[in-house]
């Protein structure tokens, strides 16, 4: 009788473990953190927004290339992403904003961390043609 109870107790523990894993799985983070990346046009209209999960050591350029279409990075600068294309005369360019502040470095050296919001915003180049 005691053995029977032990067996049933083990079975109950297995059921609890399996059910708990099924419930908790969607809440377990897959990487070390996540960033939100937005692509906006000249009027700041949102073209695409994506939450990207990263692991420590991941390069931002790789993360962006993997998660967005038509990505072109040339000489450390983001030239194209989605429908945004930097024209040959540089009348417009893709500016990078981090947490609402204009980034001071390019995409290759831009630091990022968990919870950061990056925005690639098409911007008029005021110095073009001068």
């Amino acid at each position: 009788m005691k053995n029977k109870k032990v067996l049933w107790a083990i079975l109950a523990i297995i059921v609890i473990a399996v059910a708990y894993i099924v419930i908790a799985k969607p809440f377990i983070p897959k990487g070390d953190g996540s960033i939100t990346v937005k692509v906006t046009d000249l009027d700041q209209k949102l073209i695409k927004e994506k939450k990207i999960v990263f692991n420590t050591g991941d390069k931002l350029t790789d993360l962006v290339s993997k998660n967005f279409d038509n990505v072109l990075i040339k000489d450390g600068m983001l030239m194209n992403i989605e429908s945004l294309v930097t024209p040959a005369d540089w009348a417009q360019y893709i500016a990078i904003w981090t947490n609402g502040k204009l980034a001071e470095v390019g995409i290759e050296t831009l630091p990022y961390g968990d919870g950061d919001v990056l925005e690639f915003r098409m911007t008029v180049n005021e110095y073009a043609g001068k």
Partner: protein
């Protein structure tokens, strides 16, 4: 003769018994709050089965009703539809324990009864949840399965391992009153 009989007749509820029931109701509420960080893993059904088997239908129903009102008020879920659904779901335990399982004292059989009560409670709660939260029936039914299993398995395990020692403890406590 009849006056003498009336004098010796045991009252429905003594002051000490009422105090014990109040403490046990607090225990029922407290353990659920303490284990709230675990989804559907608690000793609520174990304690309800224990109370129903020890105190009988009327007294355990009182304890369950007070616990439910306390829990619903504290958790902010006091709602005529929702709380009534919960009450019907929880009342399955004293009803079953005081009828079908009245003579059952084997902890393994009671553990199965507890698991059954867990499923019954979850199924009873489908309708109020759909009504209050406007949840689609099929989606709720599928998503609720692991939660039902957790409640049933944790209740099963709790009753299997703790029913006998707790029953002895509670009986001793109540016997002390009789002395």
């Amino acid at each position: 003769m009849s006056t003498q009989e009336n004098k010796t007749e045991k009252p429905f509820l003594t002051a000490r018994e009422l105090c014990i029931m109040a403490m046990l109701t607090v225990l029922l509420f407290g353990q659920e709050q303490l284990m709230n960080f675990l989804p559907n893993i608690n000793f609520t059904i174990l304690l309800m089965v224990l109370y129903a088997k020890t105190f009988g239908f009327a007294k355990s129903s009182m304890m369950i009703t007070v616990y439910l009102l306390l829990d619903a008020t504290f958790m902010g879920s006091l709602n005529p539809i929702w709380t009534t659904g919960q009450w019907i779901g929880w009342m399955m335990i004293p009803i079953l324990c005081c009828t079908v399982f009245k003579k059952t004292e084997d902890s393994l059989k009671l553990a199965f009864a507890g698991a059954l009560c867990a499923f019954l409670y979850c199924w009873v709660m489908i309708l109020p949840t759909m009504w209050v939260l406007h949840t689609p029936f099929k989606a709720y039914l599928i998503k609720d399965i692991p939660f039902e299993l957790l409640l049933a398995a944790s209740s099963f395990l709790g009753i299997l391992l703790l029913y006998d020692p707790l029953r002895k403890l509670l009986k001793r406590l109540l016997r002390m009153e009789a002395q």
